[in-house]
Protein backbone atom coordinates (compact mmCIF):
# COMPACT_ATOMS: atom_id res chain seq x y z
CA UNK A 1 0.00 0.00 0.00
CA UNK A 2 2.81 2.39 0.89
CA UNK A 3 4.66 1.40 -2.27
CA UNK A 4 1.71 2.16 -4.49
CA UNK A 5 1.17 5.52 -2.80
CA UNK A 6 4.86 6.27 -3.34
CA UNK A 7 4.56 5.31 -7.01
CA UNK A 8 1.57 7.56 -7.50
CA UNK A 9 3.33 10.30 -5.57
CA UNK A 10 6.35 10.04 -7.89
CA UNK A 11 4.13 10.29 -10.91
CA UNK A 12 2.47 13.30 -9.37
CA UNK A 13 5.84 14.91 -8.74
CA UNK A 14 6.67 14.62 -12.42
CA UNK A 15 3.60 16.52 -13.41
CA UNK A 16 4.07 20.24 -13.87
CA UNK A 17 1.78 21.34 -11.11
CA UNK A 18 3.23 19.29 -8.31
CA UNK A 19 3.67 22.19 -5.91
CA UNK A 20 0.01 22.97 -5.69
CA UNK A 21 -0.95 19.31 -5.82
CA UNK A 22 1.06 18.66 -2.71
CA UNK A 23 -0.43 21.65 -1.05
CA UNK A 24 -3.90 20.21 -1.33
CA UNK A 25 -3.23 16.47 -1.19
CA UNK A 26 -3.46 15.07 2.30
CA UNK A 27 -3.67 11.41 3.15
CA UNK A 28 -3.13 10.22 -0.36
CA UNK A 29 0.13 11.98 -1.05
CA UNK A 30 1.34 12.82 2.43
CA UNK A 31 4.49 10.76 2.01
CA UNK A 32 5.73 12.93 -0.84
CA UNK A 33 4.94 16.28 0.78
CA UNK A 34 8.18 16.59 2.71
CA UNK A 35 10.18 16.59 -0.52
CA UNK A 36 8.95 20.06 -1.61
CA UNK A 37 9.16 23.24 0.48
CA UNK A 38 5.90 24.99 1.11
CA UNK A 39 5.53 28.60 0.09
CA UNK A 40 3.87 31.27 2.10
CA UNK A 41 0.86 33.23 1.03
CA UNK A 42 -1.76 35.50 2.51
CA UNK A 43 -5.10 34.70 4.11
CA UNK A 44 -6.69 38.09 4.56
CA UNK A 45 -4.12 40.13 6.44
CA UNK A 46 -2.44 37.08 7.95
CA UNK A 47 0.46 35.27 6.39
CA UNK A 48 -0.11 31.57 6.18
CA UNK A 49 1.40 28.60 4.43
CA UNK A 50 -0.17 27.59 1.18
CA UNK A 51 -1.63 24.41 2.61
CA UNK A 52 -3.26 26.38 5.38
CA UNK A 53 -4.78 28.88 3.01
CA UNK A 54 -6.59 26.17 1.08
CA UNK A 55 -7.94 24.60 4.24
CA UNK A 56 -8.93 27.90 5.81
CA UNK A 57 -10.75 29.06 2.70
CA UNK A 58 -12.53 25.72 2.58
CA UNK A 59 -13.69 26.14 6.16
CA UNK A 60 -14.85 29.71 5.54
CA UNK A 61 -17.14 28.66 2.74
CA UNK A 62 -18.24 25.50 4.44
CA UNK A 63 -19.47 27.55 7.36
CA UNK A 64 -21.16 30.31 5.35
CA UNK A 65 -22.67 28.10 2.62
CA UNK A 66 -26.22 28.10 3.87
CA UNK A 67 -26.36 31.84 4.49
CA UNK A 68 -24.23 32.80 1.51
CA UNK A 69 -27.00 34.28 -0.61
CA UNK A 70 -28.64 36.17 2.25
CA UNK A 71 -25.30 37.62 3.27
CA UNK A 72 -24.55 38.69 -0.30
CA UNK A 73 -27.82 40.55 -0.45
CA UNK A 74 -27.36 42.26 2.89
CA UNK A 75 -23.72 43.18 2.46
CA UNK A 76 -24.08 44.60 -1.00
CA UNK A 77 -27.65 45.82 -0.49
CA UNK A 78 -28.68 43.69 -3.43
CA UNK A 79 -26.19 45.35 -5.78
CA UNK A 80 -24.35 42.07 -6.38
CA UNK A 81 -27.33 41.02 -8.49
CA UNK A 82 -26.74 43.97 -10.77
CA UNK A 83 -23.06 43.17 -11.04
CA UNK A 84 -23.84 39.60 -12.06
CA UNK A 85 -26.46 40.78 -14.55
CA UNK A 86 -23.91 43.10 -16.11
CA UNK A 87 -21.46 40.20 -16.35
CA UNK A 88 -24.04 38.20 -18.29
CA UNK A 89 -24.79 41.10 -20.59
CA UNK A 90 -21.13 41.45 -21.32
CA UNK A 91 -20.89 37.73 -22.00
CA UNK A 92 -23.93 37.92 -24.29
CA UNK A 93 -24.13 34.16 -24.80
CA UNK A 94 -26.01 32.78 -27.78
CA UNK A 95 -27.94 29.50 -27.65
CA UNK A 96 -25.42 26.66 -27.98
CA UNK A 97 -22.75 28.14 -25.73
CA UNK A 98 -20.89 25.82 -23.35
CA UNK A 99 -20.16 27.61 -20.11
CA UNK A 100 -17.84 26.60 -17.32
CA UNK A 101 -18.57 28.50 -14.14
CA UNK A 102 -15.73 28.01 -11.67
CA UNK A 103 -16.18 28.78 -7.99
CA UNK A 104 -19.80 28.92 -9.02
CA UNK A 105 -21.01 27.49 -5.72
CA UNK A 106 -24.58 28.54 -5.30
CA UNK A 107 -25.21 28.88 -9.01
CA UNK A 108 -25.98 32.58 -9.43
CA UNK A 109 -24.12 32.91 -12.72
CA UNK A 110 -25.34 29.55 -14.02
CA UNK A 111 -29.01 30.39 -13.48
CA UNK A 112 -28.61 33.78 -15.10
CA UNK A 113 -26.91 32.12 -18.06
CA UNK A 114 -29.83 29.73 -18.50
CA UNK A 115 -32.36 32.56 -18.32
CA UNK A 116 -30.37 34.63 -20.80
CA UNK A 117 -30.02 31.82 -23.34
CA UNK A 118 -33.70 30.98 -23.12
CA UNK A 119 -34.79 34.57 -23.59
CA UNK A 120 -32.33 34.94 -26.51
CA UNK A 121 -33.96 31.95 -28.17
CA UNK A 122 -37.44 33.37 -27.68
CA UNK A 123 -36.26 36.71 -29.02
CA UNK A 124 -34.84 35.00 -32.11
CA UNK A 125 -38.13 33.25 -32.73
CA UNK A 126 -40.10 36.46 -32.31
CA UNK A 127 -37.80 38.24 -34.74
CA UNK A 128 -38.30 35.52 -37.30
CA UNK A 129 -42.05 35.69 -36.89
CA UNK A 130 -41.97 39.46 -37.25
CA UNK A 131 -40.06 39.32 -40.47
CA UNK A 132 -42.49 36.69 -41.72
CA UNK A 133 -39.84 34.10 -42.12
CA UNK A 134 -41.02 30.57 -42.05
CA UNK A 135 -39.94 28.79 -38.92
CA UNK A 136 -38.71 25.25 -39.22
CA UNK A 137 -40.83 22.53 -37.65
CA UNK A 138 -38.24 22.09 -34.96
CA UNK A 139 -38.51 25.71 -33.90
CA UNK A 140 -42.27 25.67 -33.92
CA UNK A 141 -42.49 22.56 -31.81
CA UNK A 142 -39.95 23.94 -29.38
CA UNK A 143 -41.90 27.13 -28.93
CA UNK A 144 -44.99 25.11 -28.01
CA UNK A 145 -43.11 22.92 -25.61
CA UNK A 146 -43.30 24.44 -22.19
CA UNK A 147 -40.90 22.03 -20.69
CA UNK A 148 -37.83 21.85 -22.85
CA UNK A 149 -35.83 18.71 -22.47
CA UNK A 150 -32.67 20.54 -23.34
CA UNK A 151 -31.56 24.13 -23.31
CA UNK A 152 -31.97 25.90 -26.65
CA UNK A 153 -29.21 25.13 -29.10
CA UNK A 154 -27.69 22.54 -26.80
CA UNK A 155 -26.29 25.10 -24.37
CA UNK A 156 -24.72 23.63 -21.33
CA UNK A 157 -23.35 24.98 -18.10
CA UNK A 158 -21.03 23.13 -15.72
CA UNK A 159 -20.69 24.57 -12.25
CA UNK A 160 -17.40 23.69 -10.62
CA UNK A 161 -16.50 24.54 -7.04
CA UNK A 162 -13.96 23.19 -4.58
CA UNK A 163 -16.50 23.19 -1.79
CA UNK A 164 -19.26 20.61 -1.85
CA UNK A 165 -21.38 22.44 0.71
CA UNK A 166 -21.71 25.39 -1.62
CA UNK A 167 -22.61 23.08 -4.50
CA UNK A 168 -25.22 21.34 -2.39
CA UNK A 169 -26.87 24.67 -1.67
CA UNK A 170 -26.68 25.48 -5.36
CA UNK A 171 -28.22 22.19 -6.39
CA UNK A 172 -31.11 22.63 -3.97
CA UNK A 173 -31.69 26.13 -5.29
CA UNK A 174 -31.75 24.75 -8.81
CA UNK A 175 -34.41 22.24 -7.85
CA UNK A 176 -36.55 24.90 -6.18
CA UNK A 177 -36.27 27.28 -9.08
CA UNK A 178 -36.87 24.54 -11.63
CA UNK A 179 -33.53 24.49 -13.43
CA UNK A 180 -32.62 20.97 -14.31
CA UNK A 181 -31.55 20.53 -17.91
CA UNK A 182 -28.20 21.56 -19.28
CA UNK A 183 -26.85 22.12 -15.79
CA UNK A 184 -24.14 20.01 -14.12
CA UNK A 185 -22.36 20.22 -10.80
CA UNK A 186 -18.80 19.08 -10.18
CA UNK A 187 -16.53 19.34 -7.17
CA UNK A 188 -13.14 20.39 -8.50
CA UNK A 189 -10.11 22.55 -7.87
CA UNK A 190 -9.71 25.66 -10.04
CA UNK A 191 -5.96 25.04 -10.10
CA UNK A 192 -6.48 21.56 -11.48
CA UNK A 193 -9.70 21.32 -13.43
CA UNK A 194 -11.07 17.86 -14.21
CA UNK A 195 -11.82 18.79 -17.81
CA UNK A 196 -10.10 18.16 -21.07
CA UNK A 197 -8.46 20.83 -23.21
CA UNK A 198 -10.47 23.02 -25.55
CA UNK A 199 -13.87 22.18 -24.16
CA UNK A 200 -15.72 25.36 -23.24
CA UNK A 201 -16.78 28.53 -25.00
CA UNK A 202 -16.84 30.69 -21.91
CA UNK A 203 -15.11 30.41 -18.55
CA UNK A 204 -16.38 32.56 -15.73
CA UNK A 205 -15.21 32.98 -12.18
CA UNK A 206 -17.26 35.36 -10.11
CA UNK A 207 -15.93 36.42 -6.72
CA UNK A 208 -13.85 33.28 -6.54
CA UNK A 209 -10.40 33.93 -7.87
CA UNK A 210 -9.18 35.87 -4.87
CA UNK A 211 -9.70 32.75 -2.77
CA UNK A 212 -7.52 30.58 -4.99
CA UNK A 213 -4.07 29.83 -3.57
CA UNK A 214 -2.24 29.95 -6.91
CA UNK A 215 -4.02 32.41 -9.11
CA UNK A 216 -1.60 31.98 -12.00
CA UNK A 217 -2.32 28.25 -12.11
CA UNK A 218 -6.04 28.87 -12.10
CA UNK A 219 -5.56 31.24 -15.03
CA UNK A 220 -3.48 28.67 -16.90
CA UNK A 221 -6.16 26.06 -16.34
CA UNK A 222 -8.74 28.51 -17.61
CA UNK A 223 -6.69 28.95 -20.76
CA UNK A 224 -6.34 25.21 -21.18
CA UNK A 225 -10.02 24.27 -20.97
CA UNK A 226 -11.25 27.06 -23.24
CA UNK A 227 -11.77 26.44 -26.92
CA UNK A 228 -9.81 28.64 -29.31
CA UNK A 229 -11.92 31.76 -29.56
CA UNK A 230 -13.19 31.16 -26.06
CA UNK A 231 -13.69 33.92 -23.55
CA UNK A 232 -12.42 34.30 -20.02
CA UNK A 233 -14.51 36.48 -17.72
CA UNK A 234 -13.65 37.31 -14.16
CA UNK A 235 -15.88 39.32 -11.86
CA UNK A 236 -14.00 40.27 -8.73
CA UNK A 237 -13.65 42.92 -6.09
CA UNK A 238 -10.97 45.40 -7.00
CA UNK A 239 -9.41 48.71 -6.00
CA UNK A 240 -11.52 51.82 -5.78
CA UNK A 241 -10.12 54.76 -7.69
CA UNK A 242 -11.98 57.60 -6.00
CA UNK A 243 -10.41 58.57 -2.61
CA UNK A 244 -13.66 59.69 -0.98
CA UNK A 245 -15.56 56.60 -1.99
CA UNK A 246 -12.54 54.55 -0.98
CA UNK A 247 -12.72 55.88 2.58
CA UNK A 248 -16.45 55.26 2.83
CA UNK A 249 -15.97 51.80 1.38
CA UNK A 250 -13.24 50.98 3.89
CA UNK A 251 -15.40 52.20 6.72
CA UNK A 252 -18.31 50.12 5.53
CA UNK A 253 -16.16 47.05 4.92
CA UNK A 254 -14.42 46.94 8.23
CA UNK A 255 -17.11 48.27 10.53
CA UNK A 256 -20.34 47.00 9.07
CA UNK A 257 -19.70 43.79 7.17
CA UNK A 258 -18.19 41.65 9.93
CA UNK A 259 -20.98 42.77 12.23
CA UNK A 260 -23.55 41.74 9.64
CA UNK A 261 -21.68 38.47 9.34
CA UNK A 262 -21.99 37.88 13.05
CA UNK A 263 -25.68 38.81 13.21
CA UNK A 264 -26.88 36.99 10.12
CA UNK A 265 -24.49 34.10 9.71
CA UNK A 266 -23.08 33.90 13.21
CA UNK A 267 -19.57 34.09 11.82
CA UNK A 268 -17.51 37.22 12.34
CA UNK A 269 -14.20 35.72 11.29
CA UNK A 270 -15.28 34.54 7.88
CA UNK A 271 -16.48 37.97 6.92
CA UNK A 272 -13.40 39.57 8.38
CA UNK A 273 -11.47 37.27 6.04
CA UNK A 274 -13.70 38.36 3.18
CA UNK A 275 -13.00 42.07 3.54
CA UNK A 276 -9.29 41.51 4.14
CA UNK A 277 -8.98 39.25 1.12
CA UNK A 278 -10.48 41.98 -1.02
CA UNK A 279 -7.72 44.36 0.07
CA UNK A 280 -5.02 41.78 -0.68
CA UNK A 281 -6.20 41.03 -4.19
CA UNK A 282 -4.16 42.75 -6.92
CA UNK A 283 -5.49 45.91 -8.50
CA UNK A 284 -7.04 46.08 -11.94
CA UNK A 285 -3.88 46.65 -13.95
CA UNK A 286 -1.86 44.05 -12.07
CA UNK A 287 -4.54 41.42 -12.49
CA UNK A 288 -4.83 42.34 -16.16
CA UNK A 289 -1.10 41.58 -16.49
CA UNK A 290 -1.59 38.22 -14.79
CA UNK A 291 -4.36 37.35 -17.21
CA UNK A 292 -2.13 38.30 -20.12
CA UNK A 293 0.66 36.15 -18.71
CA UNK A 294 -1.59 33.12 -18.93
CA UNK A 295 -1.82 33.67 -22.66
CA UNK A 296 -5.07 35.54 -23.05
CA UNK A 297 -5.30 38.25 -25.65
CA UNK A 298 -7.32 41.44 -25.89
CA UNK A 299 -7.49 41.59 -22.11
CA UNK A 300 -9.68 44.40 -20.88
CA UNK A 301 -11.27 45.37 -17.65
CA UNK A 302 -14.27 47.38 -16.78
CA UNK A 303 -14.90 49.00 -13.40
CA UNK A 304 -18.28 48.80 -11.79
CA UNK A 305 -19.41 51.00 -8.93
CA UNK A 306 -16.24 53.13 -9.15
CA UNK A 307 -13.95 50.14 -8.95
CA UNK A 308 -15.48 48.26 -6.08
CA UNK A 309 -15.76 45.41 -8.55
CA UNK A 310 -14.16 44.93 -11.93
CA UNK A 311 -14.87 42.59 -14.81
CA UNK A 312 -11.74 41.34 -16.54
CA UNK A 313 -12.19 39.78 -19.94
CA UNK A 314 -9.73 37.97 -22.18
CA UNK A 315 -9.81 35.75 -25.24
CA UNK A 316 -7.98 32.60 -26.17
CA UNK A 317 -7.02 33.26 -29.76
Amino acid sequence: MAASIGAVGCRALHSRRHGKLLSIGRGLFSGARCLVAEGETHFGFQNVSETEKGEKVYHVFESVAKKYDIMNDSMSLGVHRLWKDILLHQMNPYPGTQLLDVAGGTGDIAFRFINYVRSQWEYQIKQKLKSHQNLSWQEISKSYQEEELKLPGGSQVVVCDINKEMLKVGKQKAQHLGYSEGLSWVVGNAEELPFNDNKFDVYTIAFGIRNVTHIDQALQEAYRVLKPGGRFLCLEFSQVNNPLISRLYDLYSFQVIPVLGEIIAGDWKSYQYLVESIRRFPAQEEFKAMVEDAGFLKVEYRNLTSGIVAIHSGFKL
Binding site: E147, S184, V186, N189, P194, F195
Partner: protein
Protein backbone atom coordinates in the same frame (compact mmCIF):
# COMPACT_ATOMS: atom_id res chain seq x y z
CA UNK B 1 -77.46 17.37 -23.57
CA UNK B 2 -75.42 20.24 -22.32
CA UNK B 3 -74.78 18.58 -18.99
CA UNK B 4 -73.58 15.51 -20.84
CA UNK B 5 -71.03 17.48 -22.78
CA UNK B 6 -69.60 19.43 -19.86
CA UNK B 7 -68.04 16.45 -18.09
CA UNK B 8 -66.43 15.45 -21.41
CA UNK B 9 -64.90 18.89 -21.82
CA UNK B 10 -63.70 18.86 -18.24
CA UNK B 11 -62.06 15.48 -18.79
CA UNK B 12 -60.37 16.67 -21.95
CA UNK B 13 -59.05 19.74 -20.18
CA UNK B 14 -57.65 17.64 -17.38
CA UNK B 15 -56.00 15.32 -19.85
CA UNK B 16 -54.60 18.22 -21.84
CA UNK B 17 -53.33 19.91 -18.71
CA UNK B 18 -51.65 16.73 -17.60
CA UNK B 19 -50.03 16.26 -20.99
CA UNK B 20 -48.73 19.81 -21.22
CA UNK B 21 -47.58 19.99 -17.63
CA UNK B 22 -44.25 21.76 -17.61
CA UNK B 23 -43.35 19.75 -14.60
CA UNK B 24 -40.16 17.72 -14.57
CA UNK B 25 -42.05 15.00 -12.77
CA UNK B 26 -43.76 14.08 -16.04
CA UNK B 27 -40.50 13.15 -17.74
CA UNK B 28 -39.36 10.17 -15.63
CA UNK B 29 -41.89 7.82 -17.17
CA UNK B 30 -40.02 8.01 -20.45
CA UNK B 31 -36.47 7.90 -19.20
CA UNK B 32 -35.15 4.47 -18.59
CA UNK B 33 -31.98 5.53 -16.87
CA UNK B 34 -33.44 5.87 -13.44
CA UNK B 35 -32.57 9.55 -13.66
CA UNK B 36 -35.59 11.32 -12.22
CA UNK B 37 -36.07 15.04 -12.08
CA UNK B 38 -37.21 15.55 -8.55
CA UNK B 39 -37.60 12.45 -6.46
CA UNK B 40 -33.99 11.31 -6.60
CA UNK B 41 -31.59 14.19 -6.15
CA UNK B 42 -28.83 11.60 -5.95
CA UNK B 43 -29.10 10.67 -9.63
CA UNK B 44 -25.93 10.82 -11.65
CA UNK B 45 -25.97 12.36 -15.07
CA UNK B 46 -23.91 10.20 -17.46
CA UNK B 47 -23.72 13.12 -19.89
CA UNK B 48 -21.05 14.63 -17.65
CA UNK B 49 -18.67 11.84 -18.65
CA UNK B 50 -18.12 13.63 -21.94
CA UNK B 51 -16.54 16.54 -20.10
CA UNK B 52 -14.91 14.95 -17.10
CA UNK B 53 -11.38 13.66 -17.01
CA UNK B 54 -9.06 12.80 -14.17
CA UNK B 55 -7.58 16.08 -12.86
CA UNK B 56 -4.20 14.43 -12.40
CA UNK B 57 -3.64 12.61 -15.66
CA UNK B 58 -6.33 14.25 -17.82
CA UNK B 59 -7.38 10.82 -19.03
CA UNK B 60 -11.03 9.78 -19.44
CA UNK B 61 -12.82 8.05 -16.61
CA UNK B 62 -15.06 5.06 -16.39
CA UNK B 63 -18.28 5.12 -14.42
CA UNK B 64 -18.67 2.22 -12.05
CA UNK B 65 -22.33 1.84 -11.16
CA UNK B 66 -21.88 -0.62 -8.32
CA UNK B 67 -19.76 1.66 -6.16
CA UNK B 68 -21.04 4.88 -7.74
CA UNK B 69 -17.54 6.07 -8.52
CA UNK B 70 -15.54 7.35 -11.45
CA UNK B 71 -12.51 5.21 -12.01
CA UNK B 72 -9.16 6.07 -13.54
CA UNK B 73 -7.76 2.65 -14.30
CA UNK B 74 -4.28 3.88 -15.18
CA UNK B 75 -3.59 5.51 -11.85
CA UNK B 76 -5.82 3.11 -9.98
CA UNK B 77 -7.93 5.71 -8.25
CA UNK B 78 -11.64 6.19 -7.87
CA UNK B 79 -13.49 9.47 -7.41
CA UNK B 80 -16.70 9.26 -5.40
CA UNK B 81 -20.04 10.64 -6.50
CA UNK B 82 -21.97 12.09 -3.59
CA UNK B 83 -25.57 13.21 -4.05
CA UNK B 84 -25.11 13.11 -7.78
CA UNK B 85 -22.14 15.47 -7.64
CA UNK B 86 -18.78 13.94 -8.61
CA UNK B 87 -15.95 14.90 -6.30
CA UNK B 88 -12.91 15.45 -8.50
CA UNK B 89 -10.47 16.57 -5.83
CA UNK B 90 -7.47 14.22 -5.73
CA UNK B 91 -7.46 14.07 -1.94
CA UNK B 92 -11.00 12.73 -2.00
CA UNK B 93 -10.06 9.94 -4.37
CA UNK B 94 -9.69 6.43 -3.14
CA UNK B 95 -6.88 4.12 -4.10
CA UNK B 96 -8.09 0.90 -5.63
CA UNK B 97 -5.64 -1.35 -3.80
CA UNK B 98 -6.40 -4.82 -5.03
CA UNK B 99 -6.96 -3.81 -8.63
CA UNK B 100 -3.74 -1.78 -8.68
CA UNK B 101 -1.75 -4.76 -7.38
CA UNK B 102 -3.35 -7.13 -9.85
CA UNK B 103 -2.65 -4.86 -12.77
CA UNK B 104 0.92 -4.03 -11.80
CA UNK B 105 2.51 -6.90 -13.75
CA UNK B 106 0.52 -5.79 -16.82
CA UNK B 107 1.45 -2.11 -16.56
CA UNK B 108 4.96 -0.86 -17.21
Amino acid sequence: MLSGELPKLANRKCAAAAANRPFPGAAPRHSSDGQEGQEQPKAWDPALLEFLVCPLSKKPLRYEASTNELINKELGIAYPIIDGIPNMIPQAARMIDRKAQDEEPKQT
